[in-house]
């Protein structure tokens, strides 16, 4: 991994975490556990495949065990392909949409009387 990782150093990378959250930032450092240091990081909050917002969070250290995958997003075309499907909204707007989506899910859960699967160690 370390040899491969060095190519991504100082590039803008997209990191996908085990809980589904996404972070973008300049990869400044990494180690053998794939712990990552992201500078000028943003959390990319995506709701219902409709919209996304980039929430700035500065310098971030991400623990390797929570990383699912990461890769470069250096060029514009990838970003454009994504924007084709998701519209960018403000942080306030995305938080409202998150709450609405969570409420919908809770309603479905009550109706189905189904428990959510346990994701702590079951899924990974």
């Amino acid at each position: 991994m370390s040899q491969a990782l060095s190519e991504d150093l100082d590039q803008r990378v997209l990191v996908c975490l085990r809980d589904g959250r996404l972070f973008l930032g300049y990869l400044r450092s990494y180690d053998q556990y794939s712990n990552l240091v992201l500078e000028d990081a943003v959390e990319r909050v995506v709701v219902r495949n409709e919209a996304f917002a980039d929430v700035p969070c500065g310098l971030r250290v991400i623990r390797g065990e929570n990383v699912v995958l990461f890769g470069r997003v250096a060029d514009e075309s990838g970003e454009l392909r994504m924007r084709h499907r998701l519209r960018q909204v403000s942080e306030e707007e995305i938080r409202r949409m998150q709450e609405a989506a969570a409420a919908d899910q809770a309603a479905v859960r009550r109706r189905d009387k189904l428990e959510w699967p346990v994701f702590d160690d079951g899924a990974f």
């Binding site: 990383v67 990461f70 997003v73 994504m82 499907r85």
Partner: protein, 104 residues
């Protein structure tokens, strides 16, 4: 270690990595390490509807080995007879090392 060597022989081939979060990524195998972390080039997310944000990925992408469920391999690129023989050899070696620890 053993499967890392197998993946090493498949560098340059197109494989599909299926993750435990049901994400499927197809790409050219660039490299693999002993933890079975894999690096893919020219990545395509097979279900962009489910993970539209990953469309931003380009060039290459590194997948952590522990998050992998399956790796779909090209059958014509793997000599299964060779693989079975190697498995038997490695299994014997592992067992021998365990039954007779070094220094005994």
């Amino acid at each position: 270690m053993f499967f890392a060597a197998l993946f090493q022989t498949l560098v340059g081939q197109v494989v599909t990595v299926e993750l435990k979060n049901d994400l499927c990524i197809r790409g050219t195998l660039l490299s693999v390490d002993p933890y079975l972390n894999v690096r893919l080039a020219d990545v395509v997310v097979t279900e962009p509807e489910a993970f539209p944000a990953l469309l931003a990925l380009r060039h290459s992408c590194t997948v952590r080995g522990s998050c992998v469920r399956y790796v779909h391999l090209p059958p014509d690129q793997v000599d299964v007879q060779l693989l079975q023989d190697a498995t038997r050899q490695v299994a014997s070696a592992v067992k021998a090392a365990r039954v007779r620890p070094v220094g005994e």
